[in-house]
Symmetry: C2
Subunit: 337 residues, 2 copies
């Protein structure tokens, strides 16, 4: 039987000098130009060299699975998760068709911009907001709404589209890993269909390599056409202990490298490091209030507390954003140490 | 930002004459040698030519998603689903440690080989059998048990490992689609971890491209190590209307081609054909009692009834196994029409 698959094609490809010269690692060019030289950068390049070179730590290409958290790891998550900004904007956009919301919580709180009252509405309030913004429509309708919003929304501090507030060093890291035969996945607590609205264009990660939280869906016929309708009910939460479950369900292999920034990523990093053979775990530590934000143990969004302790104990790499990154965003001027 | 991903590598690859000559379609060699010439084979090659050639039906490589049912589409499913044979064998293997099963249904029926009584135990009985054979262990332990069984079990009629009872024409079709830039997925009612125990080796389909039914899993610590434990509770049934849901959840794109053999695949084929642009749907019709089996409308396993009607109405391709396939299994002698 002839099995000619992508992995075989790619293995063949690795033998072609002409093509390899187009990869970021060829000709001595630095594949990670936005990373300052030092122990952090070296821990990454050393790991990649070890697992891609014949020797005791070599990992075959089909097992080079790398998983990335999204919020706070690949793009900004302060002052609030981008998806929460989407929810608030959607409630405002839908308010004229729902006059009753003016006097009904948690909608009233959203319309009044009273974030304390939104928070006070708790999980039940959040589910009500999810129900009107993420359900009752087809998956195609949702994708269109999310894409349109992503194209027009602006971050309140940087006044730029969120898709420009992705970390340039992490984009280089994704490309560097892929050039070295890794398959890169997003494993996020965010909604999988929200992520798919921008991840391929922005990160080069196709929809089938995105794992996220999700609402239940059912198949229906509308106007004679089969459609998938999103239901106002959580199907799966891909956060904390959910991340290894999401990885096993969707990928079916344990990652050899995992990247996160909060305690919600801790189980993914532990699951990754508990495998046999060479493994790499990295936390992005937000330490740069000038170029981005500084937060960790006391933050309500993206808290990094237990994770910092685990990283110390286990020798995981911790990125000090301020000193390790030459620039944070593509639009930053380069800054050496 | 430099995004060098696999799809770009593959696009580049398509430009290389040296490498293309290693593909099945080069040099005029027939990429589908186990298919007899005729309308069925031509419908496949015509479709692939249309979507891979610049023109109104061209489909970019990243959208060339093809989904395949497994049981009855890629390998044998008579006289019973292979996974059911696994369940029965496991119950027998575990019986010495469970003396009470001798007098307790549905276990007694399994141990007595009384398939009527097994069937009579219904969904509740099946769940009890699933609970003792597919749960209460880690995902790694289950994978090992499934792999070992696959390596040793033999089909009762052909006296061969099930992994030899895969359809040679379908293996060629998988390879042909991949050589033309398609990403091939399994979308099966079978258990995803059971499928992963053999699918990469046998079909060249990696674990992350397999969608199936699944039990719930939870993250636990056992002997200081993070493990995923399979729970005796169904999480998702990837059959019938579940198939489009499984596809949207795991792949996030509508397939352009879908392949099945039973009414349980009908919604997957309808979901595929309801997309805009060129689409291809194919049913394998089991019409060869000598080389394999003959069954359709009246079969309890793999019933194909509504699907045959839909195929007629919608102009889907229906493989007549007896006349369209030169051989069914790799070990068959070739047979022309």
């Amino acid at each position: 039987m002839m099995i000619l698959n992508r992995r075989i094609l790619l293995s063949t490809l690795a033998l072609l000098p002409a093509l390899r010269s187009t990869s970021a690692s060829a000709q001595g060019a630095d594949p990670l130009p936005s990373w300052n030289d030092g122990a952090t950068k070296q821990s990454i390049t050393n790991f990649v060299a070890r697992v891609t070179t014949q020797g005791p730590d070599f990992v075959p290409m089909d097992q080079r699975i790398a998983t990335f958290d999204n919020d706070g790891t690949l793009w900004i998550e302060q002052p609030m998760y981008v998806q929460l900004a989407f929810i608030l904007d959607r409630v405002k956009a839908l308010a004229p068709q729902n006059p009753g919301w003016k006097t009904k919580q948690p909608f009233q709180a959203v319309l009044d911009g009273d974030m304390k009252a939104v928070a006070a509405s708790g999980e039940k309030g959040l589910m009500q907001l999810m129900a009107v913004t993420h359900a009752g429509m087809t998956s195609e309708e949702f994708s269109k709404i999310a894409s349109d919003w992503i194209a027009s929304a602006r971050d309140p501090r940087f006044k730029r589209p969120y898709t420009e507030l992705v970390y340039q060093p992490m984009l280089e890291l994704l490309a560097y890993l892929r050039a070295n035969g890794f398959k890169t996945f997003i494993v996020s607590g965010g909604g999988v269909e929200f992520l798919r609205a921008f991840a391929e264009r922005v990160y080069g990660i196709p929809p089938e390599q995105i794992v996220g939280s999700r609402m239940k869906m059912t198949l229906e016929t509308r106007e004679g056409r089969a459609v998938l309708v999103k239901r106002p009910e959580i199907d799966f939460v891909d956060d904390g202990p959910g991340k290894p479950v999401g990885i096993e369900t969707a990928i079916g292999r344990r990652p050899v490298a995992a990247f996160g920034n909060s305690d919600g990523d801790l189980q993914m990093l532990e699951w990754t490091s508990a495998g046999t053979g060479a493994r790499f775990c990295l936390y992005v530590h937000h330490t740069d209030p000038d170029r981005e934000w500084a937060y960790d143990r006391a933050s309500s969004v993206g808290r990094l507390d237990k994770g910092l302790e685990a990283a110390k104990t286990r020798g995981w790499t911790v990125v000090d954003m301020k000193s390790d990154w030459r620039r944070v965003f593509a639009f930053d001027k380069e800054q050496s140490q």
